[in-house]
């Protein structure tokens, strides 16, 4: 046991990527990337103990920190802290640090952060990236980038969303500042981190991220990524999905609810028994959607199709569906008719593929039906 000292001396200051579990106590410096204040209830006496936890980054790595009994004043995102002595521990395969009463934590200056040269960071490929990775550089092609306005709390912020790809795959990104990314640009990227978003890893870029232009001759073109080689469904599922994948198969099933659905007029969630999950009793507005299972023999994927695609594939508009519902008031009749129309049709789709306990799901950007041979050629009385 060592008493806290005003100036921890004899301790080495290390970068976050040099933290080692089981090593001697060290001093670290890093910027607060995120922080959340909670209260932990002690099991022994039920007493409450405040704790601040979040992520700390110095550009070389990001580690989770836990700060027991933090100061009452809020710790802002972006604050640079120096802390020591700290001992690195490991949780779920990741290095973590905890600040206790022994640790002296003080604000530090921006300029004290290590200057990280992009070239010093380890190079990663898109295929290697997984959630919570950071402190890497990535060479990739901006397949596309779109501006979007989102609401964060009460603020409106402009973000840039898109996809970056290399030869090993494609990954979605969200940039919180305008980094001047352009469709088709080849870039070397550093200072980004990876988070999990809707079952897939996603790159997050912010003001700390740096972009350098590249010649990019060895990178795939944006068109090549968008059109993509056809992936086999069994392989795609085993790979855990993809940001952009092109698949093809035969329609073998239509999953309920498909066809006519009712949506909450406020949030567009589907309404069951006249109830919206968020807004309670509402009068749903009719909409068309379909969940179509395509199969290529190696695996299957559920395509989530919106109204436009459903109307195109079915050849029946929402108005026609509603008119028919007045004739035949059982909506399951039309769901069956949708299946009969699509069963055996060959579809080709490109989009985001995710894997969950329900298997592979594809959110297509484009869907095309092959007409050849898809239309039943029997003139006689067969199942129409």
């Amino acid at each position: 046991m060592t008493e806290p000292t005003d100036a921890p001396t004899g301790l080495q200051e290390v970068r976050l990527n040099a933290l080692r579990v089981g090593a001697d106590p060290v001093i670290i410096i890093g910027r607060v990337v995120s922080a959340e204040r909670r209260e932990i209830t002690r099991r022994t006496d039920g007493g409450k103990r405040p704790v601040l936890s979040g992520l700390l980054s110095d550009g070389t790595a990001t580690v989770r920190f836990t700060w027991w009994d933090p100061p009452a004043e809020p710790i802002e995102r972006g604050t640079v802290l120096r802390a020591g002595p700290v001992v690195a521990t490991e949780y779920a395969g990741r290095v973590e640090v905890a600040f206790s009463w022994k640790t002296r934590v003080e604000p530090a200056s921006e300029s004290e952060l290590p200057t990280v040269r992009t070239a010093d960071l380890p190079a990663m490929t898109v295929g290697q990236l997984k959630a919570r990775d950071d402190g890497f550089r990535l060479d990739g092609r901006v397949v596309r980038v779109r501006r979007k306005t989102v609401t964060v709390g009460t603020d409106e912020r402009e973000i840039h969303e898109g996809v970056i790809a290399d030869r090993t795959g494609a990954i979605a990104f969200t940039a919180w500042t305008d980094l001047g990314l352009r469709d088709g640009a080849a870039i070397r990227l550093s200072g980004a981190y990876v988070r999990a978003f809707r079952d897939r890893p996603q790159l997050v870029l912010d003001e700390r991220s740096r972009i350098e232009p590249l010649d990019g001759a060895e990178l795939p073109t944006a068109e090549a990524v968008l059109l993509g080689p056809e992936r086999r469904l069994g392989e795609l599922e085993a790979a855990g999905g993809a940001e952009l994948a092109t698949v093809a198969g035969v329609v073998v099933a239509v999953l309920p609810p498909s066809g006519l659905v009712y949506r909450c007029p406020q949030c567009r969630r589907s309404v069951t028994n006249g109830l919206c999950r968020v807004h309670g009793a509402v009068t749903g507005t009719p909409d068309l959607r379909s969940r179509v299972v395509v199969d290529d023999g190696t695996g299957s994927a559920a395509l989530q199709l919106d109204r436009g695609t459903t109307e195109t594939l079915w050849g029946r508009t929402l108005d026609v569906v509603l008119a028919r519902l007045r004739e035949v008031p059982d909506p399951s009749v039309q769901e069956e008719e949708l299946f009969e129309h699509l069963f055996g049709v060959r579809l080709r789709a490109t989009g985001r593929a995710t894997v969950s306990e329900f298997g592979l799901t594809l959110y297509p950007e484009t869907v095309t039906a092959e007409q050849a041979g898809a239309v039943p050629a029997r003139a006689q009385a067969g199942p129409a």
Binding site: E235, D296, G297, T298, G299, P376, P383
Partner: protein, 302 residues
């Protein structure tokens, strides 16, 4: 494997050569029919010429339809009962033979003597153009060939990932299971029927014997073969199944738990099974140990 079972692209000869069933455990366990060529089939997608649907069960209470799908490598029985309403409606209205697409569950019935009868319980059927039949069959030929090469590579202790195209991960495990279950079957010989649907026969491994050009006799017997003429055809099997349904139903309705022989024969006749044929069938089922007649004129399941 999570989620939905893929619809394996297989040809009739492979379904008929599949004798081993893997029963899953736990909630909603899936059953798989394992083929010697490494198809772990729960669901299959097949195309070919589908014969007209034939009613077997009692039309009003227990509808059961059957048809035969022929694809150039053999024929497979396709059935649909009350639990497959969509396919049942399809087979019921399938009154003229023609090219069709069938998706369904691979099913294995095992007789008391160990004889296995694979069939397909249809989920859905639809008439398709002949070009589309050829396309589905071509897909099945390509994927079957891939699985044959995979089994050969594993048997020769070569790295399956070196194959082109790279095998789907789930296929490797299925091929290993197939090798363990069918240790003496040569995949190239078995796959010879592929040639009859116009596909190049996969080159056999160096150690494998030259494939015979004729269709191999696919024996589906695990126990010593029966003394009678040979394994019953798919048609006979389906008749057996419907006859057994009749017996079961009569036994259930009767007070003593036995099915009356005369009533059973009458009902069978009402379904188009002549009495002489029914007697023959009865003898075979008794011989196979499926049915017994402990009291004269009274039948029950053995």
């Amino acid at each position: 494997m999570t989620g939905r079972e893929p619809a394996w692209r297989v040809l009739a000869f492979e379904v008929r050569a599949s004798l081993h069933e893997e029963r899953g455990t736990g909630d909603r366990a899936a059953t798989h029919l394992l083929s010697p060529l490494g198809a772990r089939m729960n669901r299959v997608l097949m195309a070919g010429d589908l014969s007209a649907g034939e009613a077997l069960g009692q039309a009003d209470q227990q509808p059961f339809y059957r048809a035969k799908l022929t694809d150039g490598t053999g024929e497979v029985t396709v059935t649909a009962g009350g639990f497959q309403p969509r396919a049942l409606a399809g087979l019921r209205s399938w009154t003229v033979a023609g090219p069709a697409l069938v998706v369904g569950k691979a099913h294995l019935f095992k007789g008391r003597d160990g004889t296995a009868y694979p069939s397909v319980r249809a989920e859905a059927i639809r008439g398709i153009a002949p070009e589309e039949v050829r396309r589905v069959q071509a897909e099945a030929v390509a994927q079957t060939g891939e699985r044959v090469r995979l089994v050969q590579a594993l048997r020769a202790h070569r790295d399956p990932r070196a194959l082109e195209p790279a095998p789907v991960p789930a296929w490797i495990a299925a091929a290993e299971a197939a090798i363990a279950r069918y240790p003496s079957l040569d995949p190239a010989t078995l796959a010879a029927p592929l040639a009859s649907v116009g596909a190049p026969v996969p080159r056999p491994a160096a150690s494998a014997p030259t494939p015979v050009s004729a269709l191999p006799a696919v024996r589906v017997t695990r126990a010593p073969p029966r003394a009678t003429v040979g394994p019953p055809s798919a048609a006979e099997r389906a008749v057996e199944a419907s006859f057994l349904d009749i017996v079961d139903e009569l036994a259930e309705d009767s007070s003593d738990g036995y099915a009356d022989l005369r009533q059973a024969l009458e009902r069978a006749a009402a379904h188009g099974l002549p009495e002489t044929h029914a007697e023959e069938l009865l003898n075979r089922l008794e011989e196979a140990g499926v049915l017994e007649e402990p009291i004269v004129g009274k039948l029950r399941r053995a």
